[in-house]
Symmetry: C2
Subunit: 336 residues, 2 copies
């Protein structure tokens, strides 16, 4: 049975291992620093599909298939899929995963979805409500641009605080009593709204949510930054990461020497002209399900915090003058 | 600890009671057959807000507040909120519930959201990952019409198979070891796609998903329709309900004498000109969190199945020629 630690942290009783993980990405990501870690990359971002939305669905289908292949199991060995994405009504997930015929619980946490699906999956697995759970998410630069911003054909100039939506998907399979890459604790995020309204500066909108969840975890568990090899946030990018470090410093948590961010890691900032870094559900999904999972399995990372952040807005809410509420969910993951 | 029964059903170890529930609706719903059961109704569907989306958020805020008031607890007594809705990026939930400052896990199940949030909430509560969980969802006729169909000012003629999106919200508070209105089992739905493409006939698209989940529950548990007072589906409406009865009849499950549907119950079909009945996340949320919860508490209902169905499509997927994948999640709920 799970155990509540403090107000928001859950400690798992069982050994919840990430048995398998897979990441697939598009062309730009394959030219970035993490290319060798990805399971598959596509040089044609349409993936042979007629629309960007169908291409994004195929990213999920592919990541889920590869994650399954690595286990040698068939899809019926997975009891529940937890998945979500940024597209309206989460169609990338529902269309991308419908053929698997696995019981499905759609999750919406915007770019925090990879952490949310892993966290809810850990609770289900620990509770014996499922023996094996798959967590999946994705994003696609072109489907996100036209839904959230402007048609890509418009060629609009991007703000220097803007981030570049990653074309990619990640899938991970959790299994109870699997002894490698173990999720030991999770902290559920609160909606934090600092009244930031600039949809071209998501890092600034999301950093307070990350700081809130990380501080809550430290308080709940009595741990401190130096207990961990790596404190890895989802897609704060270069600007949001600086703000997070400052916000936690004010609470006397010094994380700068062990913090990194998936939005910083996935692209070469200058050479790839990505301004403030990568973003989108697929950003931390493809980084976590490739380099991070592989290094945790190999023991190159032994004890990390993974915190994915999400901006819970829509183009409609922004047009109606609303601010950008944000959220961050946290996982504590150990080599073994 | 939860126990898996068969492939898809979860039996809860603890007594997971629905301690409180509240339903709020708009004007048309207040003129329907269930008006006396609702906690609050609004004669002005704007709820005093400048936009339909903000009005829908206020429905959630109000339902959550009333559900909390009934317990006499403050919001910090709730460990987790599970919520979602039909609006792009689920903004009705995130904006409607942000002020509560409760750890938040966004759920996306389209119109199955009320059952999904209650089901995931039961797992979290049973696992001791939370002591108390709130499940919330909503829909609004005007925000749904303009997002999924046409601006209401256009005055488009509605197909006779079309359903009328309910303006309403429901909120329920689950508590471990609370001895009334007990959720004993849940079955997680699979995505079922029978290649139906008519977005004006959601009942037909969703009925196969409901049949699939209900049959799975009967098979997993060895139960049969006559074991229950009521088998209540979410928003299949008049047409989908007939199809469900037929589909289950083919598997030798006769439910007609104890089946009802929230989309049939909430409006007077002819007098209120709703064609095939009510729909939307708020349909079964407002019916379940009012009449059904009250009758379960009073012992007028003693043993029911509640199955909410969702259509996992978007206007974009329909415009791209896609079919309508659907899902249904089931709960078995007893008076005590």
């Amino acid at each position: 049975m799970s155990k509540r630690i403090g107000k928001r942290t859950i400690r798992f009783e069982h050994t919840i291992g990430i048995r398998s993980a897979a990441a697939v990405t598009g062309k730009k990501e394959s030219e970035g620093p993490l290319s060798t870690y990805f399971d598959q990359t596509f040089t044609d971002d349409t993936l042979g599909e007629a629309t960007w939305e169908k291409a994004e669905s195929r990213l999920q289908t592919t990541a889920a298939s590869i994650a399954l292949q690595k286990t040698g199991l068939d899809s019926h060995s997975v009891d529940v899929i937890l998945a979500g994405d940024l597209l309206n009504q989460c169609i990338s997930s529902t269309f991308g995963l419908r053929s698997l015929e696995i019981p499905f619980l759609g999750q919406y946490g915007a770019c925090s979805t990879m952490a949310q699906t892993l966290l809810v999956g850990s609770i289900l697995t620990d509770a014996c409500a499922a023996d094996r759970v798959m967590a999946v998410t994705s994003s696609h630069f072109c489907s996100a641009e036209r839904q959230f911003r402007l048609p890509i054909e418009y060629g609009g100039q991007r703000n220097l605080t803007a981030q570049w939506t990653v074309t990619g998907a990640g899938a991970a399979i959790l299994e109870r009593d699997y002894p490698t890459c173990i999720i030991t604790e999770g902290t559920i995020g609160k909606i934090v709204d600092m009244e930031i309204k600039d949809a071209c500066n998501m890092g600034a909108a999301m950093a307070p949510a990350a700081a809130d969840t990380i501080a809550a975890y430290f308080q709940d568990t009595g741990s401190c930054p130096s207990d961990f090899d790596l404190i890895l946030t989802g897609d704060l990018g270069h600007i949001g990461s600086e703000l997070l470090i400052e916000l936690l410093q004010k609470q006397n948590y010094v994380i700068a020497d062990r913090h990194d961010d998936c939005g910083k890691k996935i692209f070469y900032r200058e050479e790839q002209d990505v301004h403030a870094g990568g973003s989108g559900c697929g950003c931390c999904a493809s980084v976590f399900c490739s380099e991070i999972w592989q290094k945790l399995c190999a023991g190159e990372l032994t004890n990390i915090l993974f915190i994915a952040t999400g901006a819970l807005m829509s183009p409609t809410s922004s047009m109606q003058g609303e601010s950008i509420p944000s959220i961050a969910h946290l996982l504590h993951i150990r080599h073994q």
